[in-house]
């Protein structure tokens, strides 16, 4: 019963996440390695509980319920991309998981700060 309900939640969350990922791709699609980033985010197995799944060494990883996303290839992010990140954050929170963006360059950090998101999106 529990599995069924979780599957139900996962399915709708998955649809939503895919939409958000599309939106992130659209907005950060300007950067050179768009395809790779897209693959990385998808390969993070967002919809399965952390620990049980292989951790993707390239992309964001999930350790102890915290999803780490590598931003080293993200050189630019616009408002639409920012909205995508917020939605991603919300989707993970819904699952009781946290999110951390790593290797965020100064330009992206400044953008996050200028939008007032520095206390919402955890960057390092």
């Amino acid at each position: 019963m529990e599995t069924k309900s979780r599957d139900g939640l996962n399915k709708s969350s998955e649809d939503k996440i895919n939409t958000y990922i599309k939106s992130i791709n659209a907005s950060i699609g300007l950067q050179e390695k768009k395809e790779i980033v897209s693959k990385k985010i998808r390969s993070n197995e967002l919809f399965q509980s952390g620990g049980e799944n292989p951790i993707d060494e390239l992309s964001g990883v999930c350790i102890d319920g915290i999803h780490y996303y590598d931003f080293k290839n993200i050189h630019f992010i616009n408002n639409t991309g920012m909205a995508g990140l917020i939605d991603l954050l919300k989707c993970l929170l819904q699952k009781g998981e946290k999110i951390q963006f790593v290797n965020v360059n100064e330009k992206v950090k400044n953008k996050i700060k200028s939008m007032g998101l520095e206390n919402i999106l955890n960057c390092s």
Binding site: L30, D87, I120
Partner: protein, 607 residues
Amino acid sequence: MLKQFYFDKFEDRKPYSAIPDNKYRSLLFQFTGIVTIGLGIAYLNWRWRFSLNPAALWFSIPLVLAETLSFFSTVMVVINFWSNKDAEKTPPVHYLSEIEDLQGMPDRPIKIDVFIASYNEDVELVRLSIIDAKNLNYPFPDVEIKIYVLDDGRRDGRDPAKENMKKVAEEEQVNYLIREHNQGYKAGNLKNAMEKTNGDLFAILDADTRAFPDFLVHTTGYFKKQKVAWVQTPQWFYDITDAEKLSSIINSKLKLTNKKLIRLSDFLFGKIEVNEDIFGNEPRLFYDVILRKRNFHNAAFCCGAGSIHRREAVMSLAVKGFVEEIKKLEFDLIKKKSDQLKIHPDSFGDLKNSFLLHQELIPFKFHASEDIYTSMMMHADKWESVHHPDVECKMLSTQDVDSWIKQHQRYAEGSLDIAFKDNPLFIKGLTWRQKLCYFNTIWSYFAPLWILVFLFCPIVFFFSLTLPVKAYSFDFFKYFLPFQIMNTITITLGCWGISTKRGDQYYISSFWFMLMALYSIARGKKVKFNVTPKDRNFSKSTEHILPHVIIIGLSLLGVAYNVVLLMIGHHPAASGFAANAFWCIFNIISLSVIIRAAYWKPVETNY
């Protein structure tokens, strides 16, 4: 075979051309505007200080107060109309780098989405809009233009009682988006669409908005200016009622069949034409004057259909709005923490997460007047807007009084709700000129307060035989006439080339509905988003015109009573009667338009 509609016969109508700009006319307008304000101040100064009737202050003061409030409108109109500054037209956009700073990133052709928002409209009507959207031209074949039907009516075939919108979208090979609820009305529908699409620019069309082929060609170029958030084009109603021959109406109402009588009627009344734009729907004054002149103040707001938007701008507002709401909730929480018992740090984190979860990213304000509200916030966020002067799409107007009232009450309630909740005068980020322009829009919905006084003044005089001024003396006319004449000249110059007759009549005759809207908002009633019906409904119109009938009846009764008094030589103020009778005739003519509209039916009902 496409379905037949009442508006099929208007398909060949051509839109108006925007009034050519003329700097000398603008200068003359500015001159007469200043003189009008000066004369108005002099008149009101005289009215407040020297003209009040001390024996009837209960009557004098409401009138002079109404005149003063009305004068504020004049001042704001002069500011709004001050100058014309159309944005420079530029060729359409090809690459993203033309509209956005890519900061060294690779370029690509832009992507454009066309949203057709629908709720319960006839699917065959929507099909016409889809067909026209599919015919949109764009000079660059590598620019991706995607059309989406945003169906908020969940007409995807699940309910056999409903028409199947999804099927029509599939037949026309366009995208179809629905959601499982109607949260946020149209704004929510757009939000849902924005989450599922990725166009750099997106056009908003209503179910009945038929874009002309060059809609995108003529509008995307404005976005080369990177601060431009949206471009609004005029909403042109191509189904506005034609003028009808009075003789045809008489022949039809009396069901004349006798050829001699018909000929006589044609001879007597054949040259008189009435009922042109009987519902006062012609929006040209609004789009070609009011909104267009707001380009000068960077305060032209979005009106929904017929507009095109920069996704980045809308998302910027959404993200900032999200952050502000979270901060507000956190602030409240911290306040609560210090005020009340201690909250465990873990609980604080959980609460913060709960805020994040429950707060939504809202690109367009969830509001009955989402267009103006979102525009105001975008302007406050330093984005710019463009009102494109040329008509680029056609739409349907309301075709009966019920629908007209529903639509205008929604506009009024929406705008008044903004006035009470987020008054533009106090919004940070807006320039004072933008504040005044937005406030002007809202202020116009307070007009029933003074219109009511103007409508009742002659009646009060007729039955009380009391003058609201000391006397209709030379002094009165010395101050009143120059102000009124200059005011008329100023408005004529400001609205050059556009008839304001029907607009003026509806300004007065809509007093009751606007008053009801004001009352409703003052009581704190939630504003409903009523979808404007796109078909004709000739029933139930009578109940709306009762206040108009009562005022006209009282006015006529008052005139008759005063005529009798004059005839028997017992009238104490003949000059007062003349002035009030003239005033009363003006009121009756203005009020009667909505009564005629309520009973209007096309002479030829061949659809």
